[in-house]
Amino acid sequence: MGNLYTSTTFMEHNSHPDYKYEMDSPTHEHDGINPSCGDELTLQLRVENGVIEEASFTGHGCAISQASADIMAELITGETVEEAKRLSELFLAMIRGDELTEEDYEDLDEAAQLKDISHMPARVKCAELAWRTLDGMLTE
C-alpha cells in the first residue's frame, strides 16, 4: 500500500478533494463512522430521475479514507443509482480480497488503486468508510 502515499494522483485526492463540500439541497444524506480510527464522514447525494447528479462528502479522517471518499464521489457522479450500488459492491468485494475481472477493475477506475489495502486489515475500514456509507444509503 506504500505506493498509495507515493502516488501523486492519489495524494491529490487527499490534499485537494474536489468533492469535499456541503451541498445546498441534497436529496440523500448519510453518516458513516469508524469508531476505531475516529474517522467521521457525511455523504450527500442529489439524485434526479434515478441518476446521481451530484455527490459530495464532509468529515475528517486519514488520507486513505479522505482520498477514497473523493475518488468514489467522482466515480459515481453521473451514474444511475443501480450502477453506483454495483460499483460500491465491487469495491467492497475488492477490499475484502476477492479477485475481480479486468473489466471490473476498469469500471472502478482510480478506486482500483486501493486494491492492496486488503492485505492491511487495520486500514481496510479507512478505505471502506465512504463506500460502506454509500452502500448503506442505497440499501435503505
Binding site: 506504500g2 502515499y5 475528517h60 486519514c62 487495520a122
Partner: protein
C-alpha cells in the same frame, strides 16, 4: 554514559537479528522474544512434556516442579516474600494475560466488597483492560466509577487523590505505568489513601514489569497483574498476584478440571489457592518459557541496565524529535519519566498515515487509540488517536535515527 550506538542485546533476539530491515518500536504492545525463551518453550515439550499436577509419574512431576519454580521466581520478582524472605509462590495465579488477571479481580473479588452507592476509583489513563472490568463491576453492584485525572504532564496530584479517594471508595485500580503517557503513577500514595478508608488497591503492572523493579509490599498493592508477552515471555501467559487472605475469599471465575479437591454429584470443593483459579490444563510450556524470559530480563540484562539504556534512548529520541517543529509530544517533557513510551502527533497528519508511511521504511510504531479511548477523549487529541513509539533496551541509536528520518519523510509526503 551509556553507549546507545552499540547494541549488545540484538543478537539475543532472533527476529531482530534476522530482520535488520526492521526497526521495532512497538514493545509497549508486545516485546520481542530472546532465543533463550523460545528454546525453553521447545525444551519443555522435548524433555518434560506431561500434564502437570495430574500425573503420578516422574515426567509429570518434573513438569509440575518446573511450574512451581516459575511461580516462586515470579513471587520473588514482585517482592511477594514473607518476613523471612521466602517466596509466596502460592499467591501467584497464572491466567492468559493481564486482562484476564484484572477480570478475575473485578469479577471474583469486587462483588465481595462492593455495595450499592460505593465507589471504584481508576485513573483516566487506564488501558481498557483495567477500565471495562470496573465499569462492569460497578454496574453489577450499583456502585459508581470515579476517575482520577492527571495534570497535562501525566502527574496525578495529592489533591486529586484526596478529592477522589474517600470513605465510599472500596477499590482503587491504577496502572503502574501508563501505556500512553509513559508516566509512573503514585501507587504508594493511592494505596495509603484507599487503605485509610478500608479499601483495596489493584495495580495493572503490564507496562512496569518490563522496565522496572516491582515490590508489591512497598507499593502497598492488594493485587498486581501483568502479562508475560510484554516482558519478553510468550503470548498467552498472564499473572495475578494477590494478598493471600483475599485470594482465599474469592470464588473461582472458571471451574472444571484441576481446580478442585473433590467432586460429588451435586457439589465440589475447590482446590487451595492458586489452583482454585486455574481451571483446565495450563500452558505449562509457556509458563516455563516465561521463567526463562524473566531470568534473561532480570539476570542476564538486569533492571538497572534496562532502565539506564531505555532512559538514554528516550532522551536521545526526545532530543531528535525536538528538531522537528511539527511533532507534538503527549506526556511529560522529561525523558526520564517516559519508561520507554513516547506518544506524539505529527501536525495535521492522521496517526494511521504516519504509521503506514513509517512502515515503508521498516519502522514499526503503534497508531490509534491505544486501548485508552477515554484518555484520548480527555486529552482532546484530534481524531481520538495518536502515534506511539515504545522503546526497549534491545533498541539502539540507529533505530531512533531511522524513526526520526522516517518522520521527516512522513512530513514531506504531505507537505511537498
Amino acid at each position: 554514559m551509556i553507549d546507545i550506538e552499540a547494541n549488545p542485546y540484538k543478537a539475543d533476539f532472533p527476529l531482530l537479528a534476522g530482520k535488520p530491515e526492521i526497526t521495532f518500536l512497538d514493545s509497549g504492545a508486545t516485546a520481542q522474544r530472546p532465543a533463550c525463551a523460545l528454546d525453553a518453550q521447545r525444551s519443555f515439550y522435548e524433555t518434560m512434556n506431561a500434564n502437570p499436577l495430574r500425573g503420578l509419574y516422574s515426567l509429570s512431576v518434573e513438569a509440575t516442579e518446573a511450574i512451581a519454580q516459575v511461580r516462586a521466581q515470579i513471587a520473588r520478582l514482585l517482592g511477594a516474600v514473607d518476613e523471612r524472605g521466602r517466596a509466596a509462590a502460592r499467591d501467584i495465579v497464572f491466567t492468559h494475560n493481564a486482562s484476564e488477571s484484572l477480570n478475575l479481580v473485578a469479577k471474583s473479588f469486587a462483588p465481595l466488597v462492593l455495595e450499592p452507592g460505593d465507589e471504584v476509583a481508576i485513573t483516566i489513563m487506564e488501558h481498557h483492560s483495567n477500565l471495562i472490568p470496573w465499569q462492569q463491576a460497578c454496574r453489577a453492584a450499583g456502585a459508581t466509577l470515579v476517575y482520577l485525572y492527571p495534570e497535562q504532564d501525566g502527574t496525578i496530584t495529592d489533591e486529586e487523590i484526596a478529592a477522589k479517594v474517600g470513605p465510599r471508595t472500596k477499590i482503587v485500580a491504577a496502572g503502574h505505568v501508563s501505556n500512553v503517557m509513559g508516566v509512573e503513577n503514585p501507587i504508594a500514595k493511592l494505596a495509603d489513601a484507599v487503605h485509610a478508608h478500608g479499601g483495596y488497591l489493584v495495580v495493572d503492572g503490564a507496562q512496569s514489569v518490563p522496565h522496572m523493579t516491582v515490590d508489591v509490599r512497598a507499593l502497598g498493592a492488594d493485587f498486581f497483574a501483568f502479562s508475560a508477552h510484554k516482558a519478553l515471555g510468550p503470548m498467552g501467559i498472564g499473572v495475578l498476584w494477590g494478598r493471600h487472605e483475599l485470594l482465599e475469599q474469592m470464588p473461582p471465575m472458571l471451574t472444571g478440571g484441576e481446580m478442585i479437591d473433590s467432586v460429588t454429584e451435586q457439589d465440589a470443593v475447590w482446590a487451595p489457592v492458586p489452583e482454585k483459579f486455574e481451571a483446565g490444563t495450563q500452558d505449562a510450556a509457556g509458563i516455563y518459557a516465561t521463567g526463562a524470559a524473566l531470568t534473561y530480563l532480570t539476570e542476564t540484562v538486569g533492571y538497572e541496565a534496562v532502565a539506564e539504556r531505555e532512559a538514554a534512548l528516550v532522551a536521545y529520541t526526545m532530543e531528535r524529535l525536538a528538531e522537528l517543529p511539527y511533532i507534538g509530544i503527549i506526556g511529560p517533557a522529561e525523558a526520564a519519566r517516559h519508561h520507554g513510551v513516547i506518544s506524539f502527533n505529527v501536525r495535521g497528519i492522521h496517526p494511521h498515515d504516519v504509521a503506514s508511511i513509517l512502515d515503508m521504511s521498516g519502522v514499526c510504531i503503534r497508531a490509534g487509540h491505544h486501548c485508552a479511548q477515554p484518555l484520548l477523549t480527555w486529552l482532546g487529541v484530534e481524531n481520538l488517536a495518536c502515534c506511539r513509539a515504545s522503546l526497549a533496551f534491545y533498541n539502539d541509536k540507529s533505530d531512533v535515527d531511522r524513526f526520526v528520518d522516517g518522520l521527516a519523510t512522513v512530513w514531506s509526503t504531505f507537505n511537498a
